[in-house]
Amino acid sequence: MFVDKILAKRLIFLSGKGGVGKSVLAATLAWMAARRGRRTLLVELDTIATIPLIFGKPGNGDSYRENPLAPGISCLHVDGKSGLEEYLQMMLKSRRFAQRVFRSPVYQYFVNIAPGLKELMAVGKLWDLEHKTGPAGRVPLYDVLIVDTPATGHTVSYLQMPLTAAGTVKRGLVRKEAQKVVDLLQDPVKTSFHIVTTLAEMPVNEAVELHATISTRLAMPLGCLFVNQVYPPFLAGADLEAYRAWEKEGLPEPGPDQPLSPEDPRIHERSILACAQSWRRRRETQKIQWERLRQGLPDSPLVGLPFIYDAESPMKLVQVLSETLENTDAGSPAISFAE
């Protein structure tokens, strides 16, 4: 099945403009992976900690520890500063001495001025997690890592750091580490990068730009283009004609002296029409963007996800989306603007 192909990778990135639903989609993929019996880690790469909230758990806060969210799913908030401290602690061995180093003003100064070091350490942590083994030794601790990333521009500056470091630093551990990380990020067997967008002007622009950056500058393997929050098609054929006739006929203004009970359908009629008109306009707006997206990225496999408004909780939303994805085939993008 289509989603199995996505989940076959070990390191799955999701990126796109803020507000397009990356975190919920990341949670959905994790949910589906866990249901397939795979040990899954959701990684928040320097984003606002919202993923635990989706699962109804408190946020990770500043703690740098894997947080169990559901059977088979843990979450880790990765930021560069903690990543660096963890790394140095490993090198320093003595915990107490490490604590003293981290408090030292020279260290603080260094951390603040070393450009990109924090970003490098954060991405380096992904390599570390991918290689982490369980208590038994050889078996990987996690089968799948799903990475929710910050807004597009910052995602690129994070993922670019290992490349920059491998290119500019000539010797030292940074150079060695950076190359390892670059190799993982560009590995088409293990890694794939998915773009998430909605059908609105700016998210579409960013998706097209991001696609170019990922495939050229970062040379990372691209996955799918998830098109989120798609409105259903408006009425068509005879129904569209009947709708137009109803719209044209005009609706009676409810006079102030005819009080109607809230149960009377007549007081809802104008609102039903207003909502229908809005639906039609939004669908048309989306159609324009859909065409722009098709034009900008003609070769990308598109996965359409419906606009869901009646999920009582984010977890319910995850379940509804995962059902949609379970029923999506690679051949059919599930959305069409043929009308």
Binding site: T50, G153, H154, G172, E209, Y243, R266, H268, I272, S278
Partner: protein, 407 residues
């Protein structure tokens, strides 16, 4: 004609945010908020309105993505101030009494300008511009954006060529760094610590390390092991080359903070109705208060409103979301009244339910959100629009909500 009075909540804990007064009185407006909630659009819309009000205004964005150009319907923006042409306004049916300029901050370019201005001599200038540490620092690294934005903002402010500057900041997490920028640059260019730690390295090489205390020495050795020795040499060259400029940088950073705290500046917090964005704004509000920075008000973008009246609080707040049996009788009613098929009437009623649910949800979210602020907090609401906003006409539509006269 949709009703565009400022929205009212049952609790009446909010007042309408008077953006017109802010545009008239302030010289700097700073828009902060998390990503994806239309912050850039709001900044651009404020610029358009200021121009219509006769101001010479600059909208400055430091967002890495090219959103401002998008919002203004322009193809590209460089580090130069671009005038939005009268012709462009005219095509959207507007005739501004003032003028609108737009600019996107080019971090690298701004940093180079700074070095060129403050390097003590030609040789140091040349060395620094090709120093690898500097090149890394200046090209789009998180952290340097914020300082440079402040630097540019301050430069433009001092030049005095504009009546108003509207600044669109990067997504919140980084906008917070932006507040810390003056402090950070002070620490960065702190003569004491930088020389204490780097001078010995440059002048005495590794031998110098033994002169430091044990912890500092270890840190430097560690740094060397991690990054290689070239890195430290590059840092040394950079820091010592600019040593004399440090005092200037530091006092500039302090002046910037002074202007930000002053009467002529106001911070606007922009949010949507998603929990994450609202939480960021609450956090940001506390930070502004702690830092003694002037808070102007909150703009809530993309609020689901009553599609009939275009209002955030009205009909639906009184009528509960329609129940199952009522949905059934509405479908029957439509079927009798129109020639729509059974599935079509069901779709229309479901769609009505969809809008009502979203409206009710946003209503509840906003009630809860505003209740967490002091009473009378200034708030403006922009509804979800059916069309995309990507040209001046769209921005004018946004302004019809931002600047609607108070009720």
């Amino acid at each position: 004609m949709p009703d565009r009075r400022p929205f009212r909540l049952r609790s009446r804990a909010v007042t309408g945010l008077d953006l017109e007064a802010l545009v008239r009185q302030k010289r700097i407006l700073i828009c902060c908020g998390s990503g994806g909630i239309g912050k850039t659009t709001v900044s651009a819309a404020l610029g358009v309105q200021a121009a219509l009000m006769g101001k010479k205004v600059l909208t400055l964005t430091i967002d890495p993505a090219k959103r401002l150009a998008n919002s203004l319907g322009m193809a590209q923006l460089g580090n130069t101030e671009t005038l939005v042409s009268r012709e462009h306004f005219r095509r959207s049916g507007m005739k501004p009494a003032g003028s609108l300029y737009a600019m996107m901050l080019d971090t690298k370019h701004t940093f180079d300008e700074l070095i060129e201005r403050y390097a003590p001599n030609e040789e140091i200038k040349k060395n620094i511009l090709k120093n690898r540490f500097y090149q890394n620092l200046s090209s789009a690294m998180a952290g340097s954006h914020e300082y440079l934005a402040m630097e540019k903002l301050y430069q433009i402010y001092l030049d005095g060529r504009y009546d108003l500057i509207v600044l669109d900041t990067p997504p919140t997490r980084h906008a917070l760094d932006f507040l810390e920028a003056p402090g950070r640059v002070r620490a960065f260019f702190d003569r004491g610590i930088s020389q204490w730690f780097l001078k010995p390295y440059l002048t005495m090489g590794r031998l110098g390390l033994s002169l430091l205390n044990r912890t500092s020495g270890t840190v430097l050795k560690l740094v060397e092991r991690v990054t290689g020795a070239e890195f430290l040499r590059d840092v040394s060259e950079f820091v010592t080359g600019l040593a004399d400029a440090f005092d200037i940088f530091r006092s500039r950073a302090e002046e910037v903070l002074h202007v930000l705290r002053g009467e002529s500046t106001s911070f606007l917090l922009i949010t949507g109705t998603e929990r994450g964005a609202l939480e960021e704004v609450s956090f940001f509000y506390r930070r502004l208060r702690e830092a003694g920075l002037p808070f102007g008000g909150i703009v809530v973008n993309r609020v689901n409103v009553d599609p009939l009246t275009g209002r955030a609080g009205s009909l639906f707040s009184r009528a509960a979301v329609i129940s199952g049996p009522l949905r059934e009788s509405l479908a029957v009613f439509l079927r009798e009244k129109t020639r729509l098929s059974v599935p079509a009437t069901r779709k229309l009623v479901d769609n009505y339910h969809h809008y009502q649910s979203l409206f009710a949800r946003d209503q509840a979210v906003l009630e809860e959100f505003t209740a967490s602020f002091p009473a009378g907090i200034p708030v403006r609401v922009i509804p979800v629009l059916d069309e995309d906003i990507f040209d001046l006409g769209g921005l004018a539509k946004i302004n019809s909500f931002l600047f609607a006269p108070g009720a």
